[in-house]
């Protein structure tokens, strides 16, 4: 039994750790993509242009109301042809096959982005109007105003929410095992199929996820403390 989880050729220990590495890697690239999407669509939601509001509202409603698995199937089966369609416009007619890692990042990033949009929008809304007014009074306009005054404050206010989005994103990556990326879930399926010890390998998978969750919780707590320097802790009640 212990042999099954040993390191090296005989056991699955190193493979499982490699799976954990891919889970973390695809989670990080997904949340980064999600943050980029989130910043853009939060901008759309806060914009005074009606069409942009509608587009952003449509995106967040669909993603948050439809199962993650369905979004993953959409990109898994349709992602390649979508990329080839875009490539054709730019004059490339060859066959493009997307790596499972890329499909996974696109799918989980799109899901993560919808949650990030709401978090960032909430954080921008939480910044007092006077901050915008003070900025313009100082002669800052458009992007400079956001860069110098608003974004640094958004980062602090959005951090707890982004921590939640990270947890959701991390767990959603388990679903992309259906696309063939060998992360924790897929690796434990392969290992338990070949050793007939599903109980052990799923238990290891649970432990690996709990470790990743724990470590990232500590990291987010530290970051929150760092970004809240100079702010009195708000007392509830």
């Amino acid at each position: 039994m212990l042999e099954a989880i040993s390191f090296g050729d005989a056991g699955w220990g190193d493979e499982m750790l490699m799976g954990a590495f891919w889970t973390v890697a695809v989670s990080i690239s997904s949340i980064l993509l999600g943050l980029v999407i989130g910043i853009i669509f939060a901008g759309f939601k806060l914009s005074s242009i009606k069409v942009l509001n509608l587009i952003a509202e449509f995106y967040t409603t669909v993603i948050r109301g439809v199962p993650e698995l369905l979004v993953i199937y959409l990109l898994f089966f349709g992602g390649g042809s979508a990329v080839m369609y875009v490539a054709k416009i730019f004059g490339y007619f060859g066959y493009i096959e997307l790596q499972p890692f890329v499909i996974g990042t696109l799918a989980v990033g799109a899901i993560s982005g919808a949650y990030s949009t709401e978090v960032i929008r909430g954080a921008v809304n939480a910044i007092p109007r006077s901050q915008f007014e003070t900025g313009s009074a100082l002669g800052l306009k458009g992007f400079r105003l956001y860069q110098k005054i608003i974004f640094p404050q958004v980062a602090r206010l959005a951090l707890p929410g982004i921590g939640n989005v990270w947890q959701i994103t991390l767990k959603d990556t388990a679903l992309i095992s259906v696309t063939g990326l060998v992360e924790i879930m897929r690796q434990s399926r392969i290992a338990s199929g070949s050793t007939h010890e599903p109980f052990i390998f799923y238990t290891i998978a649970i432990i690996l996820y709990l470790i990743i969750t724990r470590v990232s919780n500590v990291a987010f707590d530290k970051a929150e403390i760092k970004y809240s320097r100079g702010f009195a802790k708000r007392k509830i009640s």
């Binding site: 109301g65 199962p67 369905l70 898994f76 089966f77 388990a174 259906v178 924790i184 799923y202 969750t213």
Partner: protein, 226 residues
């Protein structure tokens, strides 16, 4: 866009709706009972109750639902003593494995929601209840629970939508609900966008109805503000 295909698959996918709703209904009901027990254990002063409840919530919220499903469906059935026990007719069925997993999952998430609700009940109400001579049980069911439900309803509505979405995972253990049928059609026709739109709209419709029902219940339970 292949509209004819969308029209045909709409009726095919619609056949999966009863199974989705059935699974969501049964596991939400069972999960609600579990959640109340876990929430009460979690707020207990006795560590013998609160530590297991806290660990249970941490374990479930820290791991993906798919892993929990695999653990129940493949992991537990590995042992011959499970396969020989009276539980086997249940654990053998993907349907019941799905119900068990979703019940446990919503039990943990809802426990946190209910805990928040219970803790928001102000001490004054409890003291008034005691002054009226209510025992522990009737105090809980007649004073604490109604206020908790009113407080927790908006968050619980969210949990219901998450349950509808989560139920799609049972398609991975061969159950043909909405997502399972959608996947089958996609791999046959290779029309991911069309089928996504059809299946997605069905989910959005279900979730829209749930949102309206929760809103209605919220209005019914709210204190008239006059």
């Amino acid at each position: 866009m292949r509209f004819e295909l969308m029209y045909d698959s709409f009726f095919k996918i619609l056949k999966g709706v009863p199974l989705t709703l059935e699974v969501v209904f049964i596991s939400t009901l069972l999960g609600f009972g579990l959640a109340i027990i876990v929430a009460l254990m979690r707020i207990s002063d006795n560590k013998l109750y609160s530590v297991p409840a806290y660990s249970f919530i941490y374990l479930i919220r820290g791991t993906p639902l798919l892993l929990q499903l695999y653990f129940v469906y493949y992991g537990i059935s590995q042992f011959s003593f499970v396969r020989e026990s009276f539980l086997w007719p249940i654990l053998r069925e993907p349907f019941w494995c799905g119900i068990i997993t979703l019940t446990i999952s919503t039990g943990a998430y809802s426990a946190e929601i209910i805990r928040g609700g219970i803790q928001s009940v102000s001490q004054g109400y409890i003291e008034s209840g005691k002054a009226l001579g209510l025992g522990r049980v009737s105090l809980f069911f007649r004073i604490v629970m109604p206020i908790t439900i009113r407080q927790a309803l908006p968050a619980y509505g969210n949990e219901l939508i998450l349950m509808v979405k989560a139920s799609s995972l049972i398609s991975i253990v061969t159950l043909m609900e909405i997502t399972g049928i959608a996947r089958t059609i996609i791999s046959k026709t290779y029309a991911p966008v069309e089928i996504f739109l059809v299946a997605g709209s069905i989910y959005l419709f279900i979730n829209f109805i749930i949102t309206r029902l929760v809103k209605y219940a919220e209005n019914r339970l709210s204190i008239p503000s006059t």
